[in-house]
Amino acid sequence: MDAYGRLTPKIIDELASLLGSGGIITEDRDLLENYSWDQAGRIWGHMPDAVVRPENTEQVSSVMKIASRYRIPVTPRGAGSGLNGGAVPLAGGIVMSLERMNSILEIDPINRVAVAEPGVVTNDLCRAATEKGFLYAGYPMSTETSFIGGNFATNAGGGKVIRYGSTRRHILGAEVVLPSGEVINLGGRFRKDTWGYNLLQLLIGSEGTLAIVTKLIVNLEPKPGKTVNLLACYPDIETLVESVSKVINSGKKIISCEFMDRNLVKYTTEYLGCRLPEQERSEGYLIIQIEDDNEEQLEESYEVVGKICMSCGAFEVFVAESRTDSAAIWNVRQNGLEGMRARDPYACSSGDLMVPLSAVPEMLRRISSAGLEWGLEMGIIAHIGDGNIHPIPIKPENMTPEKWAIYSENFFEALIKEAIELGGVGSGEHGVGHVKQHIITQSKSPAELELLRGIKRSFDPLNILNPGKMFFPLGDQQHQCK
């Protein structure tokens, strides 16, 4: 077990004088509780001893210097929208919330980058880029809530990965604070940096276990052309899946290819008080977003793609061109989790299976039969163009929430094993946190784990930064659940 230092009144005074009264929370249990859990659910939470809310890099650095002097664990936190407990302070100590570092510092049109602090809501960054005639192409489906810093920490994916890649592809540079408090700058306002070990890329997706990001330089794409959304309705999942690779390989600019099953659409439209067309007949829907340079080319593109869907067995394809129609379709997709949670507040969101596109049909079959075997009702959404599937099971009525937390994770473990067997991995985009730690760690070879431990040790020899996460359980306990 790691022997961490205690957060004494003296250290708290030291932090308070550094951060000002608004910058630290230590006594108010209700406020502290807000920082004890994330969207994995309260059941996976753990109370911090203090929350610090720095306003700038200097304060982050000073806090880390104090934390390393006294060996206090520090858990960095963005919006708390993560789904695997990545922001939960498992060892207590300090939660470092980056919510007050929320400025978009610059949109630089010449270098086509934006510079932002980690607490900027991703959607605000997207909007600011659009206003200047650019596109920030990172699009986690939680854009309304998630922070760009959290997207960096988890290498967030989302609905446009098939076209633009995950967050990794959009980050050109970062200022980060090391566990020692030292500040380093990686990358910059350039796109070519081909030599040596790429520390920037190593930090993206490291879930705050190696360093704390305090400033990001992100790539902006030129303003996209016109887009249209197709909603293809299928009588069964097999034919739907058959379309996916054909759509992606159609040679057209496919921005998104998203899947929703019947159950998910049913509960989400009930929650939203709306309907999608052909709901009675559809076992599944594909939402396909297509981009092209002008209206004529776009028409030709969606005609080609729509015909592919029809020839694969879709019984109807709808074309949403206007803002209103597009929003009506995407609203259902974006609210899928909320829809399932309106059906059952314990609907579990941590399913994040990733398989090669060719294995998607088999994975969906296995999910379906596992659901029957485990007696679970579920809805399924998927970034199906990537092979990234999110089953969302709901708690059986007679099961306690405590039992459900274990039961659902066991269910996902079983599915992850299936995904790995099919050539995939256990987490596509939700990260590992501590909820998925057990199974993800199991899937790594001893040699790989040793390399990963070596990296962690070289950044964070005292193991104070987000301890207990990813591949490194707290002490010798294998599965943390409080």
Partner: protein
Amino acid sequence: MRIAVLVKQVPAVDNVKIDENTGTMVREGVEAELNPLDLHAVEAAVKIKESMPEGYVEITAITMGPPQAKASAAYAVSMGCDRGVLVSDKKFGGSDTLATSRTLAKAIEKLGPFDIILAGERATDGETGQVGPASAEFLNIPALTYVSSIDELNDEYIEVTRSIEGGHEKLRAPLPAMVIPVKEMNIPRLCTLGGKLRAKKTEIPLLNADDLDLDENSTGLKGSATWVINVTYPQMTRQGRKITSSGRLEETLNTILNFLDEKNCLGESK
């Protein structure tokens, strides 16, 4: 049965900008779309068609505007209208609601006879809501406004429910009649790929001022009874003060209370 639907192309923005110098709408760089409220009129027409034996109803979508407004008629065709017609001429430029209604009534007469004419409640750019009823007036037919449902329809008459203040009103009118739905009447359908392909193949013919026997004194700027003389925008300023939480609830509340007190907002009750 022949149905006409009046549709208009509008800017696809939440707040229409008017050029303060010219008094005309700023269209540059703004995407266009079919007026959202007209979609309910199109949907109503297509629903009538679907409720009747196949081939019994024919729907013509009529749009008036610049050449690019043709897209709105095509959109209505992709939703299920049979034909689309564009009413367009430089001479129509600057038409107010009176001149527009006169022009559209002429087009309806030319393309008619129709049993039912459907129109949207109002356009999201002009927000006048006058063109539907005024066109009915020029055609000398009854106008059924704020229609929330069509209850009965045959070759002789139409029976509808109107939304009125505090309740509903049932009305029967002989055909031909103008019917103007409220948005609660239906949910406009999404266009199908098949509908889009059909619209692509459907020619949208043009009617100009000569086709409608309209001289320049009865349409466009000269045929209008009103002109925009001046447009100004109110200056938007914030006069508030931003109070940032100090992290201590009581302290922050006191700051807010003191501020309200300074502004004499707390009255005697403080």
